[in-house]
Subunit: 434 residues, 2 copies
């Protein structure tokens, strides 16, 4: 196998044993083979089939976007600044109802191009026509944690069909694309799925030995509805339905009581924090400092472009570091390192890829990005973690590797035809708008 | 005078009479000479000495950064995630006390490079060694609204010297750099300036016919202190001292009562909203929806890089549009157009340059920027104002003109030597850190 040697780089490893390392890293096949400080040993230089001069670059683990609906990139800028129900019922849902498998393919391709460009190497996707999403993950070279999200507000035969579809996808695609695709089971949300429907997904997850994903407690209104309909708040409700008997990742978790936070921690449930989407839709501000204090694994998601409106995870990292300081009145909460962990190592952990990606360490997959420090935003050379969190942009990312394969070189996408994707996405959008 | 013709562009004018225009714009000397829809008339094509093909670009007024301390770019990433007093007293002030005029020159140059690159054409600067800031504005080609900020917690002779310095600078530099520099009088803040000291600045502003600038009500603690020391909150305090008898711009204004908002509106005081800095330092969230409702002119400032940590005003625009929705629970507040106005036309108005810059309109100064729409972030082509606010980055800016002169071409700075600036800034920082 070809061995790639990166020399003379600064590595923000997210490995607590050596957070910042000036040195070298060797990649063989899909993995990080070896790393070390200072100059690369002679043996490494001889073994290398390819060498990358790392001076002027920061290397870090590829980012993990732990919640989203990639195909909705087609709806960017369609409807903003609206009340949630108006936005959903009069703008999003009518458009999404017209989505064909072709739209999902091109919308997801548009999202993949944007994510690679801005340093995201692993993304969670919850949508429909998931085999088309799988195709994009396969051909783009990214890592995807995919799930068919199912809304259960429909007749029983349609529910059964959705469950079958979700199970088939989860089974067939788990481990696909050389293991870069893993799958989850996903009832859409407690307020869109009857309890029996959720239980069927949990049952299937047990059979398939898969984790669970769902939206939870995004708005105050849905929490109230849960109490009205089921007598308990969403965390207890899902716990009773067995959802947390599987490894689980819940998206949003904005409206939580202390008791709910304690239960999430006890059950080892991970939370995908989506600060930009939660602000834009006026859902509120999640209690992230309290979640972290309780030991809950918190990662970051963009949610879809329709409520963000981009996929640059550096913006979520920065927002997570800023927002909770301002809202809590304590400038020491969510420090830079913690925010960066949310976007990398904790991201990987929350999507059940702990020990696979999210950290630069021998034995882990070679999912990493290089950022040019030539931009004034990295001057002076003080604290690179601070610069990454508070100053950088995803647009500083110049090179991306996933599973040892390069996907972006000097700002050029190697696996995707971006010009065609832009044109096809525009065509899809125009047809959808009718 | 050479005439520049931009053909086939999409113009986000910020002129309410035609917000988005597909067409052409002619620039002669320092001004926008003419604009129109569709194809440029033959007479314009003949008159043009230079033509710019506008297809694939969005043109908009150069952004206005209405509060900052540019030289503090030297302190980027020096100290984050600290309590305000620790940050100021143990990190910022000791470093700033060592700032020489050379440091101010190179720190401001670093800031100017970053601002031009990210589309800011006019910036407010409040600092010391202001003649060096004036030099940077002059040579960079930017527009600057400059003021010597004076802290009055010092012996009377030092106070007198500071006042003299502020007056001398304000007098000598007002109208400099072909009118691109204007000046203000600026007592630093009510909590750092005795009342008599503030009154002397107001008096000087009347004599020189200049506007006033100051920090106000950034933290809850300083408001409490104001009440303790003077029996009234800061707005009433400054009003009594006559500060609002001049045209005035106050930075931050985070902690305001309804009565204070009404008084600011009545006095025509403009507010520079600094959302990122206010979050990072945990100062709180300004009552922007209420300020807008009361008719107060609200613009956007980055504050210094030390509490931001970059100067990309697109991030302030996005933050202003997002933050107030999430905190108020109303997704309709600060819609995209309003946020963009804060960064452009309202910005200009708040820095006393209404009718000069901030809008694309014949007769105004030719301060404008071009952004490439080739990025996936502008796909699909739906609502360009939405894309600018919720999706774009200052790094999409490719060309910048100020006063009719081009400062950035295809991402290359034409008036500043960026490589040297980065090196000098690093050198200054290392000397300061000692």
């Amino acid at each position: 196998m070809r061995r790639l040697l990166i020399e003379g780089g600064t590595f923000v490893t997210m490995d607590d044993s050596r957070p910042i390392m000036k040195g070298w890293m060797a990649v063989e096949g899909t993995q990080i083979a070896a790393m070390g400080e200072g100059e690369a040993p002679e043996s490494e230089v001889r073994a290398a089939a390819e060498t990358f001069k790392g001076e002027g670059f920061l290397f870090l683990p590829g980012l993990v976007n732990s919640h989203g609906h990639a195909a909705m990139s087609l709806l960017r800028g369609l409807a903003d600044d609206l009340v949630l129900q108006d936005w959903l019922q009069n703008h999003m849902w009518p458009m999404e109802a017209r989505f064909t498998s072709d739209d999902v393919y091109w919308g997801t391709s548009l999202a993949a191009a944007e994510m690679i460009r801005t340093g995201t190497t692993t993304f969670v996707d919850m949508y429909d026509h998931m085999n088309r999403v799988g195709e994009v993950v396969d051909s783009s070279g990214m890592r995807g944690v995919l799930t068919r999200g199912a809304i259960g507000l429909c007749p029983e035969d349609v529910q059964r069909e959705k469950l079958r579809d979700a199970v088939t996808f989860a089974k067939e695609w788990n481990g696909a694309a050389n293991g870069r695709i893993t799958t989850m089971m996903c009832p859409h949300a407690p307020y869109t799925c009857p309890p029996g429907f959720i239980e069927k997904f949990v049952e299937a997850a047990h059979e398939l030995n898969l984790p669970m994903h769902t939206h939870m407690s995004e708005t105050a209104a849905e929490v109230e509805q849960n109490v009205r309909d089921y007598g308990v708040r969403p965390v207890e409700h899902l716990d009773k339905l067995g959802l947390f008997s599987r490894p689980a990742l819940v998206a949003h978790a904005v409206h939580l009581t202390d008791e709910e936070i304690a239960l999430l921690a006890e059950r080892g449930v991970a939370v995908s924090h989506n600060p930009v989407s939660n602000l834009k839709l006026a859902s509120g501000v999640a209690r992230v400092p309290e979640l972290l204090k309780a030991g809950v694994t918190v990662s970051l998601g963009t949610d879809s472009v329709a409520s963000n409106n981009n996929l640059d995870l550096f913006e979520e990292i920065r927002m997570a570091a800023l927002l909770h300081k301002g809202v809590s009145g304590d400038p020491t909460v969510v420090p830079a390192t913690e925010a960066l962990r949310m976007g990398t190592s904790q991201g990987a952990k929350s999507v059940f890829l702990d020990g696979v990606t999210g950290v630069l360490k021998p034995g882990l997959k070679a999912d990493f990005i290089a950022m040019s420090t030539a931009n004034t935003r990295f001057v002076p050379r003080t604290d690179y973690v601070s610069h990454l969190v508070y100053s950088a942009s995803g647009m500083d990312v110049t090179h991306v590797w996933v599973d040892g394969k390069q996907l972006l070189r000097n700002g050029e996408l190697l696996t995707l035809d971006e010009e065609r994707i832009r044109a096809e996405a525009q065509r899809c959008f125009e047809r959808l708008r009718g």
